[in-house]
């Protein structure tokens, strides 16, 4: 291909490196709070207690690692699928600076205890405004570039990118509507039951449009790119896309089963949650059948296994999640450690696995080189896989145990276990979870080393990609 333009590789690179940096911060804090669960002396008041660090952990990883990777990888994908550079390359650079400033301020404010107390919408209102500005900058560039594209047909990944940009904007603005008191404090505009309904409409769809649709955009782009095999069924991808983005928004209230929220909203959410299995598995099946054209890719192409294991965990996640929504299951496992086990299968197994593989694909391309070591990538793969499985499985076991102990009664009808007796039985599992986390972290260090060495031996200036 003759090139009369340059892709803006530096911004893509900047976002990827930034996201890895915030990922390290988030993961280290994750390890720290996992230790606090079984060793309360690791709480250092006031800035480093569990209650403050948990928000830094979730925000650092969802928005620092997650969104950072999404911004960078989306810019990369959009430029390739539109066959043109970004419409506003300078704006994208400011986007990168603003993003890092926002995440840094977010972390500081959360350490300082400024917390709206809405899960995954913790940041106080001035930072919310900053996030909205960031998102507008991003949306303008993405839409502008797509509108001025040189390739008429929009590929699947662009659908998911457009849906992400639209949905996150709606979700974030509505749930962060608040009554400011001071610069660092505000109250949710909504109250009580209504506040709960708005928050979990947001909370669940933040998972949908930060941890699902963007990662599917990566999956649909990089799986065919890595394997050289086109996506198995275009029609299946159309059905999956529309039914996924339609059904997701109905399901937030499955987080509120057995709460005072009106029953009909809970039930409707549970029904749509069950329905969501279909579009989720549409993508899973599409992924399997794509690689099914040549399963030897699992051996010969080191990235294929990342994508296939990633989509497998997505598939397991989207079976387990709807199951948890059922009242009979919810009454046992809700509020227990089962739930963090579920969340981390998604984030460590699906999101991180797929994003890391996408980064393995991108970095050598923009640095005009090969990956530094496929062997190290394979070691990375096995460490994060084993670490994540230890994490999730131990939490599922202890979650079921907790739920059962809370329900257990003596023959005379009194409760068989005090709360403290139930809590104490978690300790060995919480310790094992820390071990799983350490193994996962070691895997991520192999990944970072591999990326660092690849960047070091490559040369972006001569990039013609």
């Amino acid at each position: 291909m003759g090139k009369d333009y340059q892709y803006d590789n530096q911004t893509v690179n900047g976002f990827i490196v930034s996201s890895i940096f915030w990922g390290v911060v988030g993961i280290v804090i994750g390890l720290w709070i996992s230790i606090q669960m079984w060793a309360p002396s690791w709480n250092i008041a006031p800035y480093f207690t569990f209650g403050r660090l948990r928000a830094v952990h979730t925000n650092g990883l969802a928005f620092g690692l997650g969104l950072g990777a999404i911004f960078g990888i989306f810019y990369y994908i959009v430029m390739r699928l539109t066959k043109r550079p970004l419409l506003f390359p300078k704006l994208a650079r400011y986007h990168l600076y603003l993003f890092n400033a926002a995440i840094a301020l977010a972390a500081i404010s959360l350490f300082a205890g400024m917390n709206q107390s809405l899960e995954y919408a913790e940041l106080e209102w001035p930072l919310d405004l900053g996030v909205v500005i960031l998102w507008v900058i991003f949306a303008v560039n993405i839409f502008g570039t797509i509108i001025k594209r040189k390739e008429e047909q929009m590929y699947i990944s662009l659908w998911y990118i457009i849906a992400t940009v639209v949905a996150v904007a709606v979700l974030y603005i509505v749930n962060n509507l608040s009554i400011p008191v001071t610069l660092t404090k505000s109250y949710h505009l909504f109250a009580g039951v209504n506040s709960a309904n708005v928050q979990w409409w947001y909370g669940h769809n933040a998972v949908g449009f930060v941890f699902t649709t963007p990662i599917l955009a990566m999956f649909y782009y990089f799986l065919p790119k890595s394997t050289g095999i086109p996506i198995y069924s275009h029609r299946l991808s159309i059905i999956s896309f529309w039914s996924l983005v339609f059904a997701y928004l109905w399901t937030g209230a499955h987080h509120l089963v057995y709460t005072p929220l009106p029953d009909w909203i809970q039930t409707l959410a549970i029904v749509f949650t069950m329905f969501l299995i279909a579009p989720s598995w549409g993508s899973v099946v599409n992924g399997y059948y794509t690689v099914g054209a040549d399963w030897s890719k699992m051996r010969t192409n080191y990235l294929t296994k990342f994508f296939i294991l990633g989509i497998t965990f997505y598939g397991l996640q989207t079976i387990q999640g709807p199951t948890q929504g059922l009242r009979i299951v919810s009454q046992l496992i809700h509020y227990t450690d089962w739930v963090p086990g579920h969340v981390h299968m998604g984030t460590m197994g699906w999101v991180t696995m797929t994003a890391a593989a996408s980064i393995y694909y991108i970095i050598p391309k923009i640095y005009n080189t090969q990956i530094y070591s496929e062997k190290i990538a394979n070691i990375h793969f096995w460490f994060v896989l084993v670490g994540q499985l230890i994490f999730s499985v131990t939490m599922w076991i202890t979650g079921i145990q907790q739920g059962a102990l809370w329900k257990a009664t003596n023959p005379d009808g009194s409760l068989a276990y005090s709360f403290m007796e139930g809590l104490a039985k978690n300790y060995p599992y919480w310790q094992l979870r820390t071990l799983g986390g350490i193994i996962f972290t070691v895997g991520m260090l192999f990944f970072i080393y591999n990326i660092y060495m690849t960047i070091k031996r490559g040369n972006m200036a001569s990039s013609k990609a």
Binding site: I162, A191, P340
Partner: protein, 308 residues
């Protein structure tokens, strides 16, 4: 269907937005416009400035990451925590703080369960009350005074009623005072159900395990884990009264084993009459936590403390 939409990004974005908004409108926006999402119990009182500051501390310290504030309508849950949560209890909650995880117990009905002194002691050193607890210590909150100016701005922002006296009363208060005040107001808009009467169980008010050495040993274990933090390791009192001075509910003189059983099982709700003595509150009921044998064992152990 024509494939045109996949060539028209603006149309695609508009259609996506509409598809996304259908579920949003049906399950979030429309309910918001109906009264079922804005219920308020008649005897629900707005937060006082001090309670609201306490709630701010609760939010700021991320207490909601480990404690829920909603009791589900499930049998054992109601036994453990009290009456299940009602929609009308949360009208002043901006935002709701139901939480999503119970690393620690639910707090929806913590108000009035323990005396203030219990909360101060427990915030300062949770492990003194529950040796295996993983809760961080929060005594350091004492070092942070309540800011009356910000507190007034907060109640104003939420449109809650307050008087100048309420704001003046904040002077000299610290954040630990505030969060204790908040704890004591949680869930009190719903009347506590009295614990099941123990009259049937007590029989002739004599402890069937009286003097039984293994029961006393079992009772000691239960006492150390559940009672010692308030009544002292040797029963000499602390947050709760002494159990060895032969003063029972503020009156000196012997009581039956059944009296001790009833206090453990049913608690000391203010106004409750037990064997001619009147309770003034302070101790929660334990009948849903311990079966008869356990309560009789503790009774036997408490008797053994007296005889020391």
């Amino acid at each position: 269907m024509s494939g045109d939409i996949y060539k028209k990004p603006i149309l695609f974005a508009v259609v996506s937005a509409v598809v996304i908004l259908i579920g949003t409108i049906a399950t979030m926006f429309i309910p918001m416009l109906t009264p079922q999402m804005h219920p308020k119990l008649e005897n629900l009182k707005p937060y006082t400035p001090l309670q609201l500051v306490g709630r701010d501390v609760y939010m700021s310290e991320g207490c909601h990451y480990c404690h829920t504030q909603t009791v589900r309508p499930l049998k054992t849950e109601v036994m453990r925590y009290g009456e299940y949560s009602k929609a009308g209890e949360f009208a002043y909650d901006h935002p709701f703080l139901w939480g999503s995880k119970r690393t620690g117990p639910d707090l929806a009905r913590i108000g009035g369960k323990y005396p203030d002194a219990w909360h101060y002691g427990h915030f300062e050193d949770p492990q003194r009350f529950f040796a295996e607890s993983n809760m961080p210590k929060y005594g350091w909150l004492k070092g942070y005074p309540v800011d009356p100016v910000e507190a007034e701005a907060s109640v104003k922002a939420l449109g809650l009623p307050y008087t100048k006296a309420d704001i003046d009363a904040l002077k000299g208060k610290n954040k630990l005072d505030a969060i204790v005040a908040y704890m004591q107001v949680l869930g009190i808009a719903v009347a506590k159900k009295p614990a099941a009467s123990s009259a049937q169980i007590m029989g002739d008010k004599k402890n069937p395990l009286s003097g039984n050495a293994s029961a006393i040993a079992a009772g000691k274990k239960l006492y150390d884990a559940n009672c010692a933090a308030c009544h002292g390791a040797e029963g000499k009192g602390g947050i709760g009264p002494s159990l060895v001075d032969n003063v029972w509910l503020y009156k000196e003189g012997d009581v039956s084993d059944g009296f001790i059983y009833t206090v453990i099982a049913e608690g000391t709700t203010a106004g409750k009459e037990i064997e001619g003595r009147t309770a003034k509150g302070g101790m929660p009921p334990y009948s849903s936590m311990f079966d008869q044998d356990k309560i009789w064992s503790m009774t036997a152990y408490i008797r053994s403390l007296q005889n020391k």
